[in-house]
């Protein structure tokens, strides 16, 4: 069995889940067509999620429990390890989100299995798994191998094409879980503002750095361009630290990793830490005053010039 742990947020199945379905279907083919793909739904009031993913997998395992209303690394890892054991899963696919990367190591240790993190390609033939992943701040592509009956794998978001839902729905089964008590007590939450398309799922991302001049400049240039293009907005660490933008918009090593079809960097010089979060974008456009800025080296298109002159001109051109 190939087990997918379904990622969902705000009552919807996340795009990352459909990307994992693509990986699972490829693996099932490599391992023999009778290898079933099971989707595990963890949460509270997740009936709609289970119905949606029934069109993705051969069977859906549902743990709809009040105790799972809130993500917790110890609860999630216990649940996934238990289901993987009972179903004799050979590969466990977990999303490479912040939470997935947090509880997957616990699952690997519970199952005494290797952990293949943030993979961008995966092949499983017999008991051997070969994968590729980015290392050294996403500047190197490494190949790793693991052998054994079980492997825990996290899938880097935005790499694989999302699978198409099937027409028929798989059967759903409720599962019983033996859950530990949560030891990390959450006392408050600050949610991301979600007025725009989500940064990690957007086809176009417009990001701003110090070169936009100020928080007002960001709104005037970056947000205006993003709205015109239906894009998500991103920010560098420098302007997040300066308080111009929220952390949730930060792109880079300590923020989010994005691979949109189009990435437009406005007033961003291109520190390695920022580049590691966006250098896999399909087309990169840079607008910066400094012709020597590292961002231009990884750009397909760019303009050397001042943001306050260029951005209004680009906006006007787009509206023509």
């Amino acid at each position: 069995m190939i087990l997918i742990v379904v990622e969902h947020a705000n009552g919807k199945v996340s795009k990352s889940t459909w990307e994992m379905v693509t990986v699972a279907r490829e693996l099932a083919q490599q391992q023999g067509s009778d290898t079933p793909v099971a989707a595990l739904v963890l949460g509270s009031n997740v009936a709609a999620i289970a119905t949606e993913v029934a069109r993705a997998a051969d069977q859906v395992l549902v743990a709809d429990l009040p105790a799972l209303a809130q993500y917790d690394p110890e609860l999630w890892s216990a649940a996934v390890a238990q289901i993987a054991r009972e179903g004799e899963a050979s590969v466990i696919l977990i999303g490479g989100s912040r939470s997935g990367r947090e509880y997957s190591p616990r699952v690997a240790i519970k199952l005494d299995a290797p952990l293949l993190e943030d993979v961008i390609s995966l092949k499983a033939i017999g008991g051997a798994i070969t994968a590729q992943r980015y290392t050294f701040l996403a500047r190197v592509t490494e190949t790793i191998e693991a052998t054994g009956p079980v492997a825990v794998v996290t899938i880097k978001p935005g790499i694989f094409n999302p699978a198409t839902p099937r027409t028929e729905s798989a059967e759903q089964f409720d599962v019983d879980l033996d859950l530990p008590a949560s030891r990390l007590n959450i006392t408050g939450k600050t949610a991301e503002r979600n007025s725009r398309v989500s940064l990690t799922e957007a086809d176009i991302v417009v990001s701003g750095g110090r070169g936009v001049g100020s928080a007002e400049g960001f709104t005037q240039y970056v947000e205006a361009l993003a709205d015109q293009l239906g894009a998500a907005v991103g920010a560098t660490r420098a302007i997040v630290d300066a308080g111009w933008r929220a952390y949730s918009e930060q792109v880079g090593q300590t923020g989010k990793t994005v691979q949109p079809k189009l990435y437009i960097a406005v007033g961003i010089s291109g520190a390695v830490q920022h580049l590691s979060g966006m250098n896999k974008s399909k087309t990169i456009v840079a607008i910066n005053r400094d012709a020597e800025a590292p961002i231009f080296k990884i750009s397909d298109y760019g303009i050397v010039g001042d943001v306050p002159q260029l951005l209004p001109a680009i906006l006007a051109e787009l509206k023509k």
Binding site: R98, F136, I144, T187, E192, A271, F296, V304, G305, E317
Partner: protein
């Protein structure tokens, strides 16, 4: 109490990466303590300076050169250091066994580790160590305060951030924003040379890595590098938009 801070020595972010013989070549490159790990050393020092009685032990696993990073931690103010020397590259799951065993031997109740390692690009070490010790964890923390044995803090999650409390013992992973790591002063660098740096052999930990490193390459996506002069803003804007529409076909 005893605090362990796990540190790695990695390529300086400004250095370029080279691959030779199917692996990343670090010889003759500038290497530094992973900045993500510096926040853990700094936070341990701040806890002690806030009045908590604590011994701070810096730990590194890797080749002999890692001692430079440990000396930096000692110069920042850590009390002693443990170096598990090996030239074998270990993944986070294998490393966590070493860290957990040392934590038990040293009777530590708090472990700091960087949120992500800048060489292996892994987030797994903190959680894996917590699992082996059966401790709770808080990852990607950006604020921490210790009262008695209760740690209060803030950390980043999938869609924003959360405030939390957790009882020690616990594993905490650190990141930018948690604090501003100090630079070692010259007197402290001198003092650190007399501090204990204990070497341990890898053999005693019985590590059998489950991950094999099979190759490394630098895949540079070819970029078009069509960079326009923006002196005439209107003309440059028109040309860029035309390129994006007609050549790249990425906008409507």
């Amino acid at each position: 109490m005893r605090i362990l801070t796990y540190i790695r020595q990695v390529l300086d972010a400004e250095e370029s990466v080279r691959v030779a013989n199917n692996t990343v070549a670090l010889e003759s490159s500038k290497l530094v303590m992973d900045t993500m790990d510096e926040y853990g050393v700094e936070e341990a020092l701040r806890l002690r300076e806030s009045g908590v009685e604590a011994e701070i032990i810096a730990i590194a696993v890797g080749p002999a050169r890692m001692q430079e990073a440990l000396r930096t931690a000692l110069a920042m103010g850590a009390d002693r250091a443990i170096h598990v020397e090996t030239d074998t590259r270990l993944d986070a799951i294998a490393l966590s066994k070493i860290l957990a065993e040392i934590a038990q031997k040293e009777e530590a109740t708090l472990i700091f580790s960087g949120g992500q390692q800048a060489d292996w690009d892994s987030h797994a070490l903190g959680a894996a160590t917590a699992e082996r010790l059966n401790w709770p964890q808080a990852t990607w923390t950006s604020a921490l305060e210790l009262k008695g044995t209760t740690l209060t803090g803030k950390h980043d999650v999938d869609e924003g951030s959360e405030t939390f409390t957790v009882e020690l013992p616990a594993v905490i992973t650190t990141q930018q924003g948690l604090n501003e790591p100090r630079y070692p002063t010259l007197p402290n660098i001198m003092k650190s040379k007399k501090k204990e740096l204990r070497k341990e052999s890898l053999d005693q930990f019985n590590i059998t890595p489950k991950i094999k490193f099979a190759g490394a390459e630098i895949q540079v996506k070819a970029r078009l590098n069509k960079i326009l002069n923006g002196k005439d803003a209107l003309a440059a804007a028109a040309e860029l938009v035309a390129l994006l529409r007609d050549e790249a076909k990425v906008i409507a």
